[in-house]
């Protein structure tokens, strides 16, 4: 998993939060996600298929999820309703879709986004491929973008 495959997701996330939501975000040191259960409460997932396979997960705390979707729609949300989950799903869809543009080495298609809450779930990450987690800090709270990509053989 090289920088040229991870950077598109990093840049797409930066673009989304800075240019679209006008939020100052700072990316932290990437790490390996040792335990997939370490993700935050609201996680939006999108699958990548095609010339390589993988998954992207955008993970927020309960509060941050509410704030980010409120910012996105201009509507205040107080609890995790279907619209908030839908909005978080849309965000990961935008990140994955935008990232595709810079993944010049292979054609991939993205799945429909899915959103999960709580801790009682399992994600079907690509087998034998580590998950890179990139932490982001912003004024509405921290979040992570998690990418796992099986490179083209």
């Amino acid at each position: 998993m090289k920088a040229q495959y991870i950077n598109p997701f990093l840049n797409a996330t930066m673009g989304l939060f800075k240019d679209f939501l006008s939020l100052e975000v700072k990316s932290g040191k990437p790490a390996i996600l040792e335990n997939p259960k370490d993700l935050s409460e609201v996680s939006a997932l999108i699958g990548l298929a095609g010339e390589t396979t993988g998954a992207v997960v955008l993970s927020f705390s309960h509060d941050t999820a509410l704030k980010v979707v409120s910012l996105m729609t201009g509507t205040k949300y107080a609890f995790l309703g279907s619209e908030v989950l839908d909005g978080v799903g849309e965000l990961v869809n935008i990140i994955a879709g935008n990232a595709k543009k810079d993944l010049n080495d292979f054609r991939i298609s993205i799945s429909l986004p899915g959103v999960i809450t709580g801790n009682n779930y399992r994600i079907n990450w690509p087998k034998g491929v580590p998950i890179i987690t990139i932490p982001f800090q912003s004024s509405i709270g921290d979040f992570t973008v998690n990418v796992s990509l099986k490179e083209a053989v």
Binding site: M1, K2, A3, I6, K29, A31, I32, I132
Partner: protein, 740 residues
């Protein structure tokens, strides 16, 4: 106009004649028939009358009453229409004109004698008809049309009762003669004729008028209209049509005429259009000859039409481009630019066929957006093409391509960027000079002057392979120092020279006058750069007289510069590098000589040896890389180690590449043999050149330099764990490690 009269005249004349003839014949036949009928009737009446007369006279005469007979006849003559009525004897004399018969009868009478009563006037007759009756004993009838009279001669037979007085010697007693006037009959017939004529004529006139009107309406008028339309059409006005909607023959004729006229009109319109197009083409031609833009028009077959601007041919340095496809025009080298051509063809296909797609969407995938085109060996242009759909009559007919020459813009953008970098580095240089004193720079200028001077003296010597390799190494070395001291201008020009020499070495560039000129030109630029640097240092010297003592040692300068270099390069490569400079030495004797080799190894380690953060994370390593540079004084050797904890040498890949490049014979190889491949001229472990490690610049230059110093290179490597390059050169200082 004449034909029009004659048709109508002939039709009217014909009609009139037929009408007159039929009316005449009808009247004649009818009146003739009526006359004969009437004559027959009067004849029959006469016959009956005669019979009645005969019978009457006979009966009267039986009693010898001639005078009664006479008077009866007198009365008869008074009946209208009876012009003449007479009884004649066979000898032609009038009956009852003498007393012969009376006397004869009286002779035989004994008791009663008949008186001699007055007689009628004695006359005689001897007409042909009279004689004929005597001869044939049949009645004769004759008609005199001129006098409108009918004469009737009727035999009076000698019946048995007559013979008593008149004897039996004769068959006919006499002839009765009637002459009657036919005036009334003729009048009647004439009246009937007139009536009929009036009737026929009026019916005829009505019929005639009707036929004429009908003819006029159904044939003559439409035919005249058609004629008029054709006449108007003949004067050139083709926008008319015969207004006739009928299903008969005339309607068909009108249809054909209309068809003919519209055919003519279409032809005229076409000719007109052609003329307009010709005029427009002419105008376009003039426009295209003078416009200062590269324009061309593609037709629906995606070929370049005859319409393109002269400016375009000058821009692309090609003439006669009509009929070419755009790909052939832009990328004539079909083999080398197969991908670009395919992209361009696909793009055009989309432009022409996907009309629902808007231009701004299509233009977002424009393949000719800042395209760099190599026109020939010396000419390169950078262009952007804009595409414009030309829609006529709702159909897309052409696509206009507008070429913008971005060469100057892009170049000046580069120049601006270079200029900016130069200024930035100048500031940094001033800072460095302030910190370290001008000595370091003087050394660099000397090195550069030495290398460039040698090149200038050997401009005609480029076909010597040995010299080219030497020139390459020396320029490469100056480039390394320039990079280290942050002189991008010098670095860039050295890079150009390096490329030229590499091409000569590979045989891809001929040694000729043009090469000589290019090298000389680049050397001029380099000299200018060195002069600038010298001026900078001189100015600084003037400014800082007496401050020499505060200057830092060259080794510390080296340490700072190499730290900066590692930071810059690792940022550029998304690598997180912790750089460690480890040494107990206060100074390193002979450092300037060995410096280029160290830079090279450091750059190599950053570019090839170390993985990026994600690769490291994925491999289970910490995202931070370790890069160490160690200077160790060991016996009579200076040992320099460049150690990274990167991916290590990929021996199988190296071996494969070595065999492919012909640097190794196929078969089994010792690790040392494989590693040796790295130090062969022209070897590059990566397929593409990067700005950091350069193009085809291998470790051969390092090995050559070290060899010259009487040293050697060792390598330790472990797959996935890292690589260490160890340079061993003879120690040049005294035993205490003090600089000589």
């Amino acid at each position: 106009m004449k034909g029009r009269n004659s048709i109508q005249f002939r039709i009217i004349t014909g009609l009139l004649l037929i009408l007159l003839l039929s009316v005449g014949v009808s009247i004649y036949l009818t009146t003739a028939n009526q006359k004969s009928n009437l004559l027959d009737a009067s004849q029959r009446t006469l016959a009956v009358n005669n019979e009645m007369l005969n019978t009457t006279i006979r009966n009267i005469m039986l009693s010898g009453e001639a005078p009664i007979a006479n008077r009866t006849m007198e009365d008869f003559r008074k009946i209208t229409g009876f012009l003449e009525f007479e009884l004649y004897r066979t000898d032609g004399s009038t009956a009852f004109n003498d007393y012969d018969t009376l006397n004869f009868v009286n002779d035989y009478q004994s008791m009663v004698m008949f008186d001699q009563t007055p007689r009628v006037e004695g006359r005689s007759i001897d007409t042909e008809d009279f004689q004929q009756v005597l001869m044939n004993k049949t009645p004769v009838i004759s008609l005199n049309e001129d006098t409108r009279e009918m004469e009737y001669y009727f035999p009076i037979l000698n019946f048995a009762e007559c013979r008593v007085c008149h004897g039996d010697d004769e068959f006919i007693r006499g002839v009765s003669h009637f002459r009657i006037s036919l005036d009334s009959i003729y009048d009647q017939v004439r009246r009937a004729g007139v009536l009929m004529a009036v009737y026929f004529v009026s019916v005829g006139v009505i019929l005639f008028t009707w036929i004429l009107l009908l003819m006029h309406r159904t044939i003559i008028k439409p035919v005249l209209d058609i004629g008029e339309t054709v006449n108007i059409a003949a004067t050139g006005n083709l926008d008319i049509q015969v207004d006739l909607d009928r299903n008969d023959e005339v309607g068909e004729l009108a249809g054909r005429v209309n068809h003919m006229i519209s055919g003519l009109r279409e032809r005229r319109d076409l000719e007109l259009q052609n003329k307009v197009i010709e005029t427009r083409l002419e105008e376009n031609r003039k426009y295209l000859d003078h416009i200062k833009e590269g324009l061309l028009l593609l037709n629906s077959e995606r070929r370049i039409t005859g319409q393109y601007s002269v400016f375009l041919t000058k821009l692309f340095m090609r003439e006669d481009i009509a009929g070419l496809s755009l790909a052939d025009f832009i990328y004539p080298d079909a083999e080398r630019f197969a991908d670009e051509r395919r992209d361009l063809d696909g793009f055009l296909e989309m432009l022409f066929t996907n009309k629902t797609a808007d231009m701004d969407m299509i233009m977002s995938i424009n393949p000719l957006n800042e395209a760099v085109l190599q026109l020939d060996q010396d000419n390169e242009i950078i262009i952007r093409a804009d595409f414009l759909r030309i829609v006529e009559n709702g159909e897309m007919e052409n696509v206009m391509v507008i070429f913008e020459n971005l060469t100057d813009i892009v170049h000046s953008r580069h120049e601006l960027e270079e200029e900016r970098q130069r200024r930035e580095s100048e500031l940094e240089q001033i800072a460095t000079v302030l910190k370290m004193g001008p000595k370091v720079f003087e050394g660099f200028i000397e090195e550069g002057e030495r290398a460039f001077g040698s090149l200038r003296g050997n401009l005609t010597n480029f076909s010597d392979k040995e010299f080219i390799s030497e020139a390459f190494r020396s320029v490469h070395s100056v480039k390394g120092t320039a990079r280290y001291l942050d002189f991008p201008g010098v670095e860039e020009h050295c890079h150009q020279l390096e490329n030229l020499f590499a091409e000569v070495r590979d045989g891809s560039r001929k040694v000729d006058k043009s090469l000589e000129e290019t090298v000389a030109g680049t050397l001029d630029s380099l000299d200018d750069e060195l002069v600038l640097i010298r001026k900078l240092i001189d100015r600084f010297k003037e400014f800082s007289v007496g401050s020499e003592s505060t200057q830092v040692s060259p080794f510390n300068v080296f340490g700072e510069r190499i730290n900066d270099m590692v930071k810059d390069i690792s940022n550029e490569l998304d690598k997180d590098v912790v750089f460690n400079l480890e040494t107990d030495l206060e100074s390193v004797p002979g450092l300037p000589e060995i410096q280029p080799s160290i830079f090279h190894l450091i750059r190599n380690a950053l570019d090839h040896g170390l993985e990026d953060i994600y690769e490291r994370l994925a491999a289970g390593k910490p995202s931070e890389s370790q890069l160490s540079l160690r200077f160790i004084h060991e016996d009579n050797w200076l040992k320099i180690e460049v150690e990274d904890d990167g991916r290590g040498l990929d021996m199988p890949a190296l071996e494969k590449k070595g065999v492919e490049m012909g640097l190794l014979k196929p078969g089994v190889h010792l690790p040392s043999q494989i590693v040796n491949v790295l130090f062969r001229p022209g070897f590059s472990s990566r397929d593409e050149a990067t700005s950091i490690s350069g193009r085809g610049v291998g470790l051969d230059a390092v090995k050559e330099d070290i060899k010259k110093m009487g040293g050697r290179i060792n390598i330790r490597t472990s797959r996935g764990k890292g690589t260490t390059f160890v340079l061993l050169v003879p120690w040049k200082g005294d035993e205490e490690g003090v600089l000589v």
